[in-house]
């Protein structure tokens, strides 16, 4: 009986742990699925003729003759549409005032939406903002705008016992009997020839700067900013962390002060990251005046503080696990303690130290809170290396949040946001992979 219950207990424990792992992998899949599929849409999508015109005019990219030819074809396809607009404008003037007032508002909406879809309408002055100079560059966005042209959203409150209902009313009905009525079916049927969507692999999403706050272009400033911040944090945290770990594991006498130090380090690891951000602002910027305002340097220093405990802990464990025999051998050959640490202890502990570095690198790249106050801005250009000393930078984690919450047209640039998420995930993955390969190579070399 005792044996049977023990076996049952063993088996249920195995079952629970297997289930936990299955559950975790499933949730990872659920999480990664949309990240990859929606993030991929930032790179691979059907680009319209507006996209190619934009690339030629803003980045001087593409075959100018072919794009000019395409522009002519597109303009020709759009001509009947613009004709209808002109005809209706004339018709509107002759209407009786009541009907004119009613339709003018609706007509304005249609014109605004058409401008969003196809770019400036004939006879309009060039707009100041880039987003007003071009139509939809992506076919998926163009389809959404088309829907908004064809149907107007209205709310039905007719039944007082129920909540208001959204109903889509064809705009065509409002313009029934006017010269504008045929515009809607015409647009629906001919939109493809007006925009010429074509599958495009926009890999330059990674290397382009963003234009007009992420309406166009890529995320290079964000990638570069993240890279600078992470690299800076590692450069600051690794030497300090490893030296602290060497002191703690090799030279510190066991005493109350040292155990207090250890407690402090553990506590530091548990401090919320937003507090680190505030500390960075108060200490590095307001007190030390590391830079006049936010800067990559201040952000890196703050991130370095954040990851310091992880690095110290990992390095200390790694140093402690180096066999005592190596140390004895080095000392018996006449190595001073410092030489022993540098030539034997550190090389032997390197794989373990790298593990801590890997973990903290991923963390530094992805942290948002510490850089809000110290380094991040929502729009910026790619920085030169020396500019990191006193310039703020956009960075992937912060801009993902910023695009989702503070951008004036969140819906229009969802693909950029997901592209950033995918890039950040891949970036961290890549960093980790590189570190794992390096670590494996070192351990293999040492094992012989």
């Amino acid at each position: 009986m005792k044996l049977r219950s023990r076996r049952l207990l063993d088996r249920s424990l195995t079952g629970v742990s297997v289930m936990a792992i299955v559950l975790m992998s499933l949730s990872l899949l659920v999480l990664l699925g949309p990240i990859f599929s929606r993030g991929a849409a930032a790179f691979l999508f059907r680009a319209t003729s507006e996209f190619r015109r934009f690339n030629l005019e803003q980045f001087n990219r593409g075959d100018s003759r072919r794009i000019a030819a395409e522009s002519r074809a597109v303009a020709e396809a759009r001509q009947p549409l613009y004709g209808m607009l002109a005809a209706f404008t004339a018709e509107l003037e002759d209407m009786d005032p009541a009907r004119r007032r009613e339709l003018r508002q609706q007509f304005k909406e249609v014109r605004d939406l058409l401008r969003e879809l196809l770019g400036p309408l004939p006879g309009e002055m060039d707009a100041v903002m880039l987003r007003q100079q071009y139509g939809q560059t992506r076919w998926d966005r163009a389809r959404v705008t088309l829907q908004r042209i064809l149907f107007s959203e209205q709310w039905d409150y007719s039944d007082p016992s129920r909540m208001g209902r959204k109903v889509l009313v064809p705009r065509r009905q409002a313009f029934a009997g006017t010269q504008l009525e045929p515009l809607f079916p015409h647009l629906q049927q001919n939109l493809k020839s007006m925009l010429q969507p074509r599958f495009t692999f926009y890999w330059r999403f990674l290397s382009d700067r963003s234009l007009d706050s992420h309406f166009f272009g890529g995320i290079w400033p964000e990638i570069l900013g993240t890279f600078y911040l992470t690299l800076g944090a590692m450069l600051l945290a690794i030497p300090f962390g490893v030296i602290a770990a060497i002191y703690l594991s090799e030279f510190a006498a066991a005493g109350r002060l040292v155990s207090l130090l250890r407690v402090c380090i553990s506590t530091l690891a548990g401090v919320p990251s937003i507090v680190f951000g505030l500390f960075g602002l108060a200490f590095f910027i307001n007190t030390l005046h590391l830079s006049h305002s936010k800067s990559v340097l201040a952000g890196s220093a703050t991130l370095a503080l954040l990851i310091l405990p992880t690095i110290i802990r990992a390095a200390e464990e790694a140093l402690k696990s180096v066999p005592h025999a190596y140390k004895e051998a080095a000392l018996s050959l006449g190595a001073s303690p410092l030489r022993m640490v540098l030539t034997v202890l550190l090389p032997a502990a390197l794989p373990g130290i790298l593990t801590g570095v890997i973990i903290s690198m991923g963390r530094a790249a992805g942290e948002t809170a510490p850089i809000i106050f110290t380094a991040a801005v929502s729009v910026g250009r790619p920085l030169k290396l020396w500019e990191t000393l006193n310039q703020p930078t956009p960075a992937l984690p912060w801009n993902i949040y910023n695009l989702a919450t503070e951008h004036q047209a969140v819906d229009q640039i969802r693909h950029v946001q997901f592209g950033m998420v995918l890039t950040l995930v891949l970036l961290v993955l890549l960093l980790n992979l590189a570190a794992i390969v390096i670590r494996a190579r070192i351990s293999r070399k040492m094992r012989g």
Partner: protein, 273 residues
């Protein structure tokens, strides 16, 4: 119990003395003690290790033989709460004196440990390690020194084609000879061996013992062993320690045939230990 005086040790050692060579390095303990906290592991030992001889220290586990050995090159410095009493003299210098440079001391007194402990580096870098410490960056002569050291340790023929391989890929016996080569590469005068064959199989043990025989006459060798046959085979002189006290010290041949002390005889005949 009568402490052996320097004079009678010399007298006892005389028959085994081959040649003293040019060098006059030797180690002498004068009422030397070592304490772990309150526990006295080595008690007032007075004992002279003559130059270019092999001296074995035997005794049951915990008798202080390793502690005594590790006091000679101050490896016991690492032990918290450890302190010494009396004097330990190497080449006329007080080993625990305030002016002694531990780095130089350890360069002149090499050590081989119980378990082979090569660094996780290449064979070449293992042997070159000590040399690089003392000579600075690699010199042309390094190659020669590594080869000579490996030759002297009887390992050259086995590893000459794979000097860049990791030392941990060698067998246990080869690793121990590598450690000996590593110690020899810094050109020490004294070689301390702390049960160097206890982790090895009989064949590898035999090779190490042959090696000790070859090194005899060039280096002052002090070997701690729990294996009495080994002491009898490799040493010129034997010291028997029991519970921190030096019980008997003399020429190996005489100790193993006609021990003067009852306890020595009891230990050697296996009545305790």
């Amino acid at each position: 119990m009568i402490q052996p005086t320097l004079a009678n040790i010399r007298a006892a050692a005389e028959p085994a003395t081959a040649d003293y060579g040019g060098r006059q390095a030797h180690v002498a303990c004068d009422r030397f003690s070592f304490f772990y906290g309150d526990n006295q592991a080595v008690r007032n030992v007075t004992l002279d290790f003559p130059s270019f001889q092999v001296t074995a220290i035997i005794g049951p586990s915990g008798c202080g033989k390793s502690t005594l050995l590790r006091s000679i090159n101050r490896m016991n410095d690492l032990i918290p709460g450890g302190r010494t009493g009396g004097r330990l003299v190497f080449d006329g210098q007080d080993v625990y004196g305030p002016r002694l440079d531990v780095v130089t001391l350890r360069r002149r007194i090499g050590m081989v440990f119980q378990k082979p402990n090569p660094f996780p580096k290449s064979i070449f870098n293992n042997v070159a390690y000590g040399r690089r410490l003392h000579d600075g960056p690699a010199k042309g002569r390094l190659q020669e020194i590594v080869e000579a050291s490996l030759q002297r340790a009887g390992l050259w023929d086995e590893v000459k084609d794979r000097l860049d391989d990791n030392a941990l890929s060698l067998s246990g016996g080869q690793q121990q000879r590598l450690c000996i080569a590593r110690a020899l590469a810094v050109d020490p005068e004294v070689l301390l061996m702390d049960e160097p064959t206890s982790a090895l199989d009989p064949r590898a043990t035999a090779r190490i013992e042959d090696l000790i025989a070859e090194l005899r006459g060039r280096y002052t060798i002090i070997i701690v062993t729990h294996n009495m046959q080994q002491a009898a085979r490799v040493s010129d002189l034997t010291a028997f320690l029991y519970e921190g006290d030096l019980i008997e010290y003399g020429a190996t041949a005489q100790m193993f045939t006609k021990p003067r002390q009852k306890r020595t005889e009891d230990y050697m005949t296996g009545r305790f230990g």
